[in-house]
């Protein structure tokens, strides 16, 4: 026991204290003072940091299961018989009945749908029986047709990644805003923001149409294509595949930036967090940042801008203000 470089504290004690911190943060109203105390405890020893990260990561993972479980319990509690066999049976997913779903289109009202939703900062993966996969990003609502021969979903809000097993007899259709995307065997991302629809194609091809069949709005997308459609216009540009791949970092819980302006990076982070980053100075907004950041840690990103760009970062509770 002579010359250990570090004398590390007892692992079990550290883990217990890390759990107490995590419990306090989960259960008590949490302010900057608490956060500072936690930070200083974490900085005391890397043993504290690793123990806390480990418990936090496991605890956050269970929150994902919970997001899935909650509506399912509700669905189970209803007396609805399970005789109806949906074409798309969900292996494991959030299930809310159509009655609960928000803002459905007229068409949807006639069709039984299941709703899948994520909260701000949430993320969910759905596996369909046909082998297709859908992953929902932060703050997203997606409904899925049930009990019909059609493979059809409505992206009501947010962003989702689709990896669709092609079946010529049963095309997979994504309804979004007043547009329709029909897969021709593909991987793609769809994001809905107000009346703006963005489709990014990673593999295969897909067709984008306006719901009313306006031919001018039809586009067949190839890998690398980024289509932006509004109510009246559709434009298609191309992006390098590497850039598109970076934009999928959220599927792993990270945001990846490469010469990204702070304005864009902040806008991206704010999608994932209730606590919003605010840039106080237009000069600062133009600075560029790069790197990979956990999407669920807006504070950490704030600190990174301080360290990397030498900016002032002030935590005001609801917001984190970044200035020179």
């Amino acid at each position: 026991m002579s010359t250990a470089e570090h004398i590390l504290p007892d692992a079990s004690d550290v883990e217990q204290r890390a759990a107490e911190w995590l419990e306090r943060r989960a259960c008590e109203s949490w302010n900057e003072v608490n956060e500072t105390e936690l930070e200083s405890w974490l900085a005391q020893s890397p043993a504290h940091a690793v123990a806390f990260m480990r418990l936090e990561a496991a605890w956050d993972r269970t929150a994902r299961l919970i997001a899935l479980q909650k509506p399912m319990r509700r669905a189970n509690a209803s007396t609805e018989p399970s005789s109806r066999v949906p074409v798309l049976k969900i292996a494991a997913a959030v299930v809310v009945t159509a009655a609960v779903s928000v803002g459905g289109s007229l068409l949807a009202l006639h069709q039984q749908t299941q709703t899948f939703a994520t909260t701000i900062g949430g993320r969910e993966a759905l596996s369909l029986v046909d082998g297709s996969k859908i992953e929902l990003n932060t703050d997203t609502v997606l409904r899925m047709a049930e009990g019909s021969a059609q493979r059809k979903v409505w992206l009501d809000r947010g962003e989702a990644y689709f990896d669709i097993k092609h079946d010529a007899a049963h095309p997979f259709v994504v309804m979004v805003g007043n547009h329709r995307i029909t897969d021709l065997g593909t991987k793609f991302i769809v994001r809905q923001e107000g009346d703006r629809v963005e489709v990014k194609l990673l593999e295969g091809s897909a067709r984008l149409d306006a719901n009313d069949g306006t031919p001018a709005q039809t586009a067949v997308l190839k890998p690398g294509d980024v289509a932006v459609a509004t109510a009246s216009t559709t434009s298609v540009t191309r992006k390098p595949m590497k850039e598109l791949a970076n934009e999928l970092g959220w599927r792993r819980g990270v945001l990846m930036f490469d010469h990204t302006t702070l304005a864009e990076a902040v806008a991206e982070f704010n999608r994932y967090s209730r606590q919003k980053l605010v840039i106080a100075d237009p000069q600062v907004a133009k600075l560029e940042i790069g790197g990979t950041f956990p999407s669920d840690d807006v504070k950490l990103f704030g600190r990174a801008t301080r360290i990397a760009l030498g900016l002032r970062v002030e935590d005001r509770g609801n917001t984190i203000v970044i200035s020179k």
Binding site: L8, A11, E23, A26, A47, A49, A51, R251, G291
Partner: protein, 178 residues
């Protein structure tokens, strides 16, 4: 910036290796009561190294760190390990396997999370479910369970520790499932 990258890397790449790491330590160390401390030491070293530079391959890096720590302990404490601390290759440390299919992972993740929850002691599970699923406050949980807030605290912290052990430590190979 390196701190956030190190953190993201640690959570995404190192923690999922915990079951392999624990198997390795258990195979090579006789005194079971020291295993949690050894794991801690491995994580500290790996995390510190990652803050300087993210290792290219997590698995060989973690297992080599573990081996060095065990060898140092042998030297320091004049104890004899169970086996010679050398069989890294048998754990596939040299060759990094391709990541498993994402769909399999998504399903496995759900199955595993469910299992983890099911394996908690009943009172801890109850408290964890009320906290995480129902979003209740500590006081409401205490009322529902008919216990004091300190007891709820204990159930929750125990639950958090057990969840991490189950989710990361249990030696279940995700890739073996059909």
């Amino acid at each position: 910036m390196t701190v956030s990258e190190a953190r993201a890397w640690f959570v995404a790449e190192v923690l999922p290796l915990e079951s392999v790491l624990m198997q390795y330590i258990q195979r090579n160390w006789r005194n079971q009561s020291e295993i949690a401390d050894i794991r801690q030491e491995v994580y500290v070293r790996v995390y510190e190294a990652a803050q300087r530079e993210i290792p290219e391959h997590a698995k060989p890096f973690v297992l080599t760190t573990a081996r060095n720590i065990l060898i140092n302990r042998v030297r320091r404490e004049h104890v004899v390990p169970i086996e010679a601390v050398a069989d890294l290759e048998s754990l596939g440390a040299a060759a990094d396997e391709p990541p498993p299919d994402r769909a399999v992972m998504a399903r496995e993740e759900l199955r595993r999370l469910q299992l983890a929850l099911d394996h908690l002691p009943p009172r801890s599970r109850e408290a964890v479910v009320m906290k995480q699923i129902e979003g209740l406050s500590r006081r409401d949980i205490a009322t529902r369970m008919g216990v004091g807030e300190e007891t709820v605290k204990r159930h929750l912290t125990n639950g958090m520790r057990a969840l991490a052990d189950f989710l990361y430590g249990e030696p279940t190979d995700l890739r073996k499932k059909p």
